[in-house]
């Protein structure tokens, strides 16, 4: 196993940032940690990169214990913190050179690994990092994290604040890196990016809600799910709230995602109800659950348990 976590907990003052987290990441896997801001993703990354000490539990990365062998871990992992941590006043090339030097290597030595990423920013190699666009900063930060050929790569929200085109390119790069036997743990608040991982862990309020492949998480959604829309979206939300058969009703882009309480629910009943409530242009269609539906369902159940 590349990464192992056993019952990791961590608190700041009275706030529990991580609560009994356990999971494993296989060598060469692209593993996603999916959850909103404040869910505990960064804390988890910092424990695994030996920047923080857990209160309870144990963890190992690339076979080294995070407490006992922290120096070995520091030699064998690449880490890209939440904000692209680059020296703004150094040029692209100077940044890369610097990170190569402190890891005791050179750009030439591992050029093969970063080549297809670096060629995209090479035309700007004499530009200061502070003057790069978000997408280019992201690529440079990735090159810097890879320059010493790490066994495990930790990417904390690498796509936050980056435009959709760069986000897409970034995920394509990760897929290619995976082929070079690098284990990747990546975190993101974007549920749509979850689909691109081999396996994902949904995390909320310091707890793991579910771990599985994205597909399994979607298909294992326990209820039927319908997308609903009418010409009056706000009225529709209100009317669905007072509809006795409603388990949940959430805005979901142009539609509302509706889950019924019972399995015997039929869409025609809802349509009738909406007509009765004077809605026009009514659409009710069964649809497949997304990762986000699962996330909401699980975190709601989780909250109910806590109360």
């Amino acid at each position: 196993m590349s990464i192992i976590l056993n019952n990791i907990s961590k608190s700041y003052d009275k706030v529990k940032a991580l609560d009994d987290i356990s999971f494993e990441v296989k060598p060469g896997e692209l593993f996603g940690l999916i959850g909103p801001d404040g869910a505990g993703k960064t804390t988890l990354f910092r424990i695994l990169t030996t920047l923080l000490i857990q209160d309870e539990g144990s963890a190992s990365v690339a076979g080294y214990d995070v407490l006992k062998h922290y120096k070995d871990i520091r030699n064998h992992v690449g880490y890209m913190p939440g904000r692209f941590s680059l020296y703004q006043d150094l040029t692209v090339e100077e940044n890369l050179n610097f990170f190569a030097t402190i890891f005791g290597t050179t750009i030439a030595e591992n050029y093969e690994l970063i080549k297809d990423i670096y060629v995209q920013i090479e035309p700007f190699k004499n530009r200061r990092a502070g003057k790069l666009s978000g997408g280019m900063k992201q690529k440079l930060a990735l090159c810097c994290a890879l320059i010493h050929k790490p066994k495990v790569l930790f990417l904390d929200e690498p796509t936050t604040g980056v435009d959709p085109v760069s986000r897409k390119e970034f995920w394509e790069m990760l897929k290619r890196l995976q082929q070079k036997d690098i284990t990747i743990l990546v975190s993101t608040p974007y549920m749509d990016e979850a689909e691109l991982c081999d396996r994902i862990a949904l995390i909320s309020d310091g707890k793991i809600l579910e771990i599985n492949t994205p597909e399994a998480i979607r298909t294992l959604f326990p209820k039927k799910i319908y997308k609903v829309r009418t010409s009056q979206i706000y009225q529709l939300i209100m009317d669905l709230r007072s509809y006795p058969e409603t388990h949940s009703a959430y805005p979901f882009g142009e539609y509302l995602h509706f889950t019924p309480k019972t399995a015997s629910f039929v869409a025609e009943d809802l349509e009738k109800y909406l007509i009765q409530r004077e809605h026009r242009d009514i659409e009710v269609m069964e649809t497949v659950a997304t990762i986000e539906d699962t996330f909401m369902d699980l975190s709601r159940a989780n909250e109910l348990v806590n109360r």
């Binding site: 880490y79 941590s85 990170f99 030097t101 005791g104």
Partner: protein, 368 residues
Amino acid sequence: MKRFIGFITKEFYHILRDRRSLFILFGMPIVQVMLFGFAITNEINNVDIAILDHSKDVNTKEIINKIAASKYFSIKGFISHEDEIESTFKKGKIKAVLNFEKDFSKNLVTQKKATVQILTDATDPNTANTISNYVGSILQKYQQELNRGLNIPYQIAPKTRMVFNPELKSVYMFVPGVMTIILMLVSAMMTSISITKEKELGTMEILLVSPLNPFQVIVGKVVPYILLSIINATVIILLSIFVFKMPVQGSLFLLGMESTLFIVNALSLGILISTISSTQQAAMMISLMGLMLPVILLSGFIFPISSMPLPLQMISNIIPAKWFIMILKGIMLKGVGLAYVWKETLILIGMTIFFIGLSVKKYKIRLE
């Protein structure tokens, strides 16, 4: 070693590319020395003085005329009794009183020596000192005129007395003070800011998660500033020697070693500050309030320590700058050797070891 050089190279890029830090590093020392140098000027003009003439004879009249004729002084009054001296000063206008002894001419002829007392208001020590120098030189000139063609020369002895601030600070006092402030500023504030900057940017996280050990990170951050501070100290000393004609009496080697000691002391303070602050702003505030103010106010640079209230005098003992200023003063102005400043040097060494120990203990190999 290659890692280390790479690190230091990077550090120099930071310093050389940031105009603000470049100014603080190189502009500041020059500006400060010039500012203090010219603000505390030796020139005086039309200073109001009063005369207390117990003798009222030919010689005293001639001297008074010479003084009145110079552009430096204007005589604002004659007093007749010692009791009036203090009240004259207290009115604030009069900066000096010349007190001619009784039987001035007679003493000059019979004993070949007469005395005039120069009383100066030393609340403004620089002016006071300058006044007594000027009066002294007028007296000396007069004495030379009198002695022309005489076998046994007459001697007019000026006796200077400072009123209100008897422990007069030298005009040159500003050089040790400015040097101390600048070394403190460059070494402590700049290092603490440059370390916290890495924390703020998040690059510290990457450095920690690298094979560099924390000790290397710190030394790498500090070495460039040691070099720069030494350059600065040299610039200040050269400026004061060549622009302000300040004589350096003691050994330059000792001066260099003591300065390096103080630089290391200030750097260790800077590291200590960076371990307790997480933003550049906080580091700057702590450096300014915690280091600069005491250096300026309590080190004896501006206000003499002996005239401070006892509690402040005690506090001044824990300020490294106080000891460094004493050492500088000793070497630069009095020309003493290590034999006379070993105590201060030992105190500085002790403080440095303490601060380094504390910052190593406080420095985290992790984030919290």
